[in-house]
């Protein structure tokens, strides 16, 4: 056992030179670390990404490799640098990640989540918008909204998200400063006082699923208020943001009428959040063509994906391109796969793989699978 540990340590040490970095705090990552992998603690992983956050194929891979690593890449470093340099007193800055399929937008968001966590931000993270709007299982439970006329609720999704929010911000919810400012009346018998801690609101939302969407709305307002008053800084991350600007969702009202995204209460909450009329926060969004599956052409640019509506809503934002691997990154990734015995075979294979996968990270992972 001891010998095995020593062996591990030796291996880790020797590998640290080639493709790993021991630096596990994103705050310390800088351009020296570009292309290297760093490991995330398992518990942290579960806390941050328990209910989503890392792509499914990546989760499978991390299970096979028995560890979760993230590669330090240029877009993430760029945003981290911007975040460090920006003045939080100004209104929120919005970053939009865009790029081809499989280049690592969700991974970048995961990296930034870790950073935000380390820096003590309050995290509002929507793992995948299409989950709410398009993933229709046999029977999506929907109901007409109580507080707002003509809008549709998705209670179960809202409750799930509240749980996610809770796990992500466990450590912060304990602090006494997170208090609600207004009073919310839910029904004749239930109401939440002003000045009650935020966690109470969340518990209510999780237990009383009927009111979950309204709870989400309330939380959004409260967080904005808190950030405005300077008590907390907030980090908002939404993956697949352009899903909100589609013309139709796959949801249908009980009367079989198709629902547009704006009519879903959750959409309005998040749109409220990204409006940009608050400060002390950072918003990172990703524009994904997978979130617009009806479109025939493969669009990678944010304009085309967000349409006029989205652009007007988000303007001005900073577009950040997430690109394919560079030579160096490719080599480190190949080395990592070899170390994990995911990629076997003669070295010439790498030259071939370089060309066939065309430096696309996802494709590279796929193509190594049968080897």
């Amino acid at each position: 056992m001891l010998i095995r540990n020593i062996r591990y340590a030796c291996r880790r040490y020797s590998q640290a030179v080639t493709f790993r970095t021991a630096e596990s705090s994103p705050a310390e990552h800088n351009s020296n670390h570009v292309g290297l992998f760093y490991t995330i603690n398992k518990d942290l992983c579960k806390q941050l990404y328990g209910h989503g956050g890392l792509p499914k194929s990546y989760m499978k891979q991390s299970k096979t490799f028995a560890e979760t690593v993230i590669m330090v890449r240029q877009p993430a470093l760029d945003i981290i640098a911007c975040m460090k340099a920006s003045d939080l007193e100004k209104p929120v800055t919005k970053y939009v990640l865009y790029g081809e399929e499989g280049t690592g937008r969700s991974m970048t968001i995961a990296h930034l989540l870790h950073y935000a966590f380390e820096e003590g931000y309050l995290i509002i993270h929507v793992p995948w918008v299409s989950d709410w709007l398009r993933r229709v299982q046999r029977h999506k439970e929907m109901s007409n909204s109580l507080t707002r006329e003509g809008m549709v609720d998705v209670p179960l999704d809202a409750a799930a998200w509240l749980l996610h929010f809770k796990t992500q911000n466990q450590h912060l919810l304990k602090s006494p400063e997170l208090k609600i400012s207004k009073e919310y009346v839910w029904s004749k018998r239930e109401k939440t006082e002003a000045g009650a801690p935020l966690s109470e609101l969340i518990e209510l939302g999780i237990s009383r699923v009927k009111y979950a969407c309204d709870v989400v709305d309330a939380i959004v307002h409260e967080v904005k208020h808190l950030s405005n008053t300077g008590k907390f800084k907030t980090f908002v991350a939404v993956d697949g943001y352009n899903g909100f600007f589609n013309s139709l969702t796959r949801l249908k009202t009980p009367t079989k009428k198709k629902v547009a995204p704006e009519e879903v209460t959750l959409t309005t909450s998040i749109l409220e959040l990204t409006k940009g009329d608050w400060k002390n926060g950072v918003i990172v969004l990703s524009a994904d063509m997978i979130a617009n599956p009806d479109e025939q052409n493969k669009q990678i640019f944010p304009m085309n994906l967000l349409y006029r509506k989205g652009f007007n809503h988000l303007d001005p934002f900073v577009p950040v391109k997430v690109d394919r691997y560079s030579e160096r990154e490719f080599i480190t990734c190949a080395n990592y796969y070899r170390d994990r015995l995911w990629l076997r075979g003669p070295p010439e294979i790498e030259a071939e793989l370089k060309l066939t996968s065309a430096f696309n990270p996802y494709k590279f992972m796929e193509q190594c699978a049968p080897l």
Partner: protein, 335 residues
């Protein structure tokens, strides 16, 4: 032989042998040319009476032709292949390996092919020479594409068809196409936009050509008139400004005017928030707001306009990103 002599009367056999021999040689001389055929039913004689002498066939005209004749006189017009008049030992036909393709006599394949024996190169030359006196010279100054384009900007395209069928009329022959470069038309900004909207699909951006095709009339002349009418009508319509055009909405605008747009509003709101003055401005005020007070705003405006007008590409987005960073005070993108 000797056996016979010992067994039978020698003389008789002897004689018959000689006789047989004599007869046989005589018969042989007669039939030396052919093998003897056994005809039990005596068919040959009866057949021989019925066979009529075939008419004597004269040798082909092709055999007598001299090698230095004028072929144009021999085959003046289009005509199906006539083996006796063509002195070429030509063969056609697909046969299995080892066999010879059939010759030209009574070869249906050769007769089926439409041949060009009436249009050999010397004949064509002769015809060209004959037509030459009706031709005029090409104008010297029209020696380049640009010159042709300048003086004759309109191009009319029509097709003639010839085919083998009961009628000589082809319905496709009435189609008329008119092509003109947009640069040759005199249009200002509004007129050009209106003209393009009227013309729609018929405009090719890459070559700057407008192509109008007409085939709705039965005669070519009528189609030609129609196509000219179309061009004139579109041109004049483009110049007239209607009442209802003033009601054009922001969404209909074919290009992006930044001032009228949400983007400006966003910028102004943001600026106010930054400077701490939260205001609610009316539409008019938004439009007339002077952005020169906001630093880096002019570049931002240009970048956004570019983004919309020229479409998205790597460069426009990079530029936009750069200006936004400057605006918000963020560090430049590290490559």
């Amino acid at each position: 032989m000797s056996l016979f002599m010992k067994r039978n009367k020698p003389g008789v056999v002897f004689n018959t042998q000689i006789l047989w021999r004599l007869n046989s040689t005589v018969a042989e001389n007669k039939d030396e040319e052919e093998f003897r055929v056994l005809d039990i039913l005596k068919k040959k004689d009866s057949r021989q009476k019925r066979i009529v002498r075939r008419a004597e066939v004269a040798p082909d005209r092709a055999e007598k032709m001299p090698t230095d004749q004028n072929w144009g006189n021999v085959w003046p017009g289009p005509r199906s292949f006539h083996p006796s008049s063509v002195p070429l030992p030509i063969r056609q036909g697909y046969v299995p390996k080892g066999q010879v393709p059939p010759g030209k006599k009574a070869n249906a394949e050769l007769m089926k092919i439409p041949n060009f024996l009436h249009l050999t190169p010397p004949v064509i030359k002769r015809q060209c020479e004959a037509i030459r006196k009706f031709c005029t010279e090409w104008p010297k100054l029209l020696n380049s594409e640009e010159a042709i384009d300048k003086h004759y900007p309109v191009e009319i395209i029509t097709s003639d068809y010839c085919h083998a069928s009961p009628t000589i009329r082809n319905p496709m022959a009435r189609v008329v196409t008119l092509r003109i470069k947009l640069a040759n038309l005199d249009l200002d900004k509004h007129a050009k936009d209106k003209f393009l909207r009227l013309v729609g699909d018929r405009y090719d951006e890459k070559t700057d050509l407008v192509t109008l095709t007409a085939d709705r009339c039965p005669l070519r002349k009528q189609n030609l008139d129609y196509v000219n009418y179309l061009l004139t009508a579109a041109y004049h319509e483009a110049w007239t400004v209607e009442e209802w055009e003033k009601e054009k909405m922001e969404d209909d605008m074919e290009y992006y005017v930044w001032d009228n747009n949400q983007s400006k509003r966003n910028l102004i709101d943001w600026y106010h928030r930054v400077s701490g003055t939260e205001q609610v401005l009316s539409d008019e005020e938004y439009r007339n707001y002077d952005i020169s007070s906001i630093p880096h705003a002019k570049e931002y405006k240009e970048a956004v306009s570019n983004l919309f007008n020229e479409g998205e590409s790597e460069e426009t987005i990079e530029k936009y990103g750069g200006t936004v960073r400057k605006l918000l005070g963020l560090p430049e993108r590290t490559v």
